[in-house]
């Protein structure tokens, strides 16, 4: 049994939605949302709070020091900082095309970090 407050981010209203769950974590109640979309958002956010991670990787380019990178799918919120710890060792060698995998399966999340820009030289 527990209650979590989720702030809905789907519109400027920012409803504070209370999600209640039973002892095994199943959602048994949702309250405080003004619309149906908010209910779905709150349940998803309660079950699997995950974010796209964006960061930079050090390059071996003579033209730019950093390459912007992103995860190709959301990473569990609790794994964001851990994912960052892997980056200081990474060196990206040009040429790189947008979307190319830079770090596969970052922090065992199943998500890859991919290039968010082209780097020619």
């Amino acid at each position: 049994m527990g209650e979590s407050e989720i702030i809905c981010i789907l519109c400027p209203l920012g409803c504070r939605v209370a999600v209640t769950s039973d002892s095994s974590g199943n959602v048994i109640g949702v309250a405080g949302n003004e619309c149906k979309l908010g209910e779905k958002y709150a349940i998803d956010e309660y079950r699997f709070p995950a974010r796209i991670l964006t960061a930079t990787a050090i390059t071996q380019s003579s033209k730019r020091k950093l390459l912007p990178i992103r995860s190709n799918k959301p990473i569990p919120k609790g794994k964001l900082l851990e994912s960052m710890y892997h980056l200081p060792q990474v060196r990206v060698k040009p040429p790189v095309k947008i979307g190319q995998v830079v770090v596969p399966n970052i922090a065992n999340t199943g998500a890859d970090l991919i290039a968010a820009d082209d780097m020619i030289e």
Binding site: I7, I9, C11, P12, L13, G14, E34, R51, I52, L53, T54, A55, T56, I58, R64, K65, L66, P68, R70, K77, L80, L81, M84, I98, A116, D117, D118
Partner: protein
Amino acid sequence: MTLDGADILVIGGGPAGLASAIKAKESGVDNVVLVERAEQLGGLLHQCIHNGFGSIYFKEDLTGPEYARRFIEKVQDLNVTVLLETMVLRITPDKRVTLCNKSGLVSLEAKAVILAMGCRERSREAIVIPGTRPAGVFTAGTAQRIVNVEGYLPGKNIVILGSGDVGMIMARRLTLEGAKVRAVVEVLPYIGGLIRNEVQCLYDFSIPVFLEHTVTWVHGKQRVEAVTIAKVDKERQPIRGTERTIECDCLLISVGLIPENDLSIKAGVKLDPITGGPIVNEGLETNVPGIFVGGNVLHVNDLVDNVTLEGELAGQSAAKYVMRGASLAKRKVNLVAGENIRYIVPQSINGEKEVTIHLRTKEPDENCTIQVGDILAKPFRVVKPSEMIALKLSSGGLNKMQQGATELLVSCQRVEK
């Protein structure tokens, strides 16, 4: 540099300039010249490595560099003439443009000019924070460049003044890079940026937020050592006795953006004192015939998608102007900001065909109706100054306007239950 002249000269290679150059070219104008002072196209999007771009325009969640790349490729495919590392020094009211780059000074004539210079940040000096002048005070956007492009941290213990989107995004970015964000300090009783940033940048990382507070002193001789913050009263004046000092080595200022209009003023373009950008008609043409404008130089937008759409409209209008050789100025109906409306862009419309207007409220409110003359009344569950509102005025509605009407009052009123 040899350039005989331009049909359309676009100033600024950020999202607004890219979109307007593309649209101008696609509308059938051949000689489009895009001028950018940096060494690459894309503007500020290069340092905005976070996601959240393109949700409206592409229905996708992109990072800044990814969003920019799509337009840069299009500009290249369309063979727009691009001048990089080139600064526009002056535009005259008859559209003679003086450029400067490594090969020297060039003056050329343009049939139409599109202003797409974007905006700049308000600084510590603009809001006058007392104290010493140590190293370690940056605007949030400068810190963003230092972290995301140059690869340094601006400090290890950070206080951020202002809760606009750039400030919040830097709070998250610095936290992920190992710095400690000690406080986000906001003078208003509510967060200044978008709700998704409030949740995903501040609450996700448990960053302390001080609403109705401001920084009253910066301490430190060589380097920032601490800042003093205090609660403010209704007039936003610090309240004596509420001060507390937070140790830090860096203060970031994120207190708003100002459209960059020095060139526009010299060209004789009239500005709106509220938006800080040019006064425009529904084709985004300024008071100077043939000078058009779009993006954050017109008014500061919350989403790049809308910057792109404005750039496209400016590009389209400029193309029409060049192909016709004259302005489309017809009937003019001024949009007047009434109750709880801060500004409306465009400031005037033709009043004939369907048009989308953008506006911001002065204060947040709930359960209200936005009324445009007697042609439109749209209910809103909530309005916030930080979230721009778009309203479509249908031609059917506009036809209801009285013959010869020259004004439409726009207001936002609470609905009594």
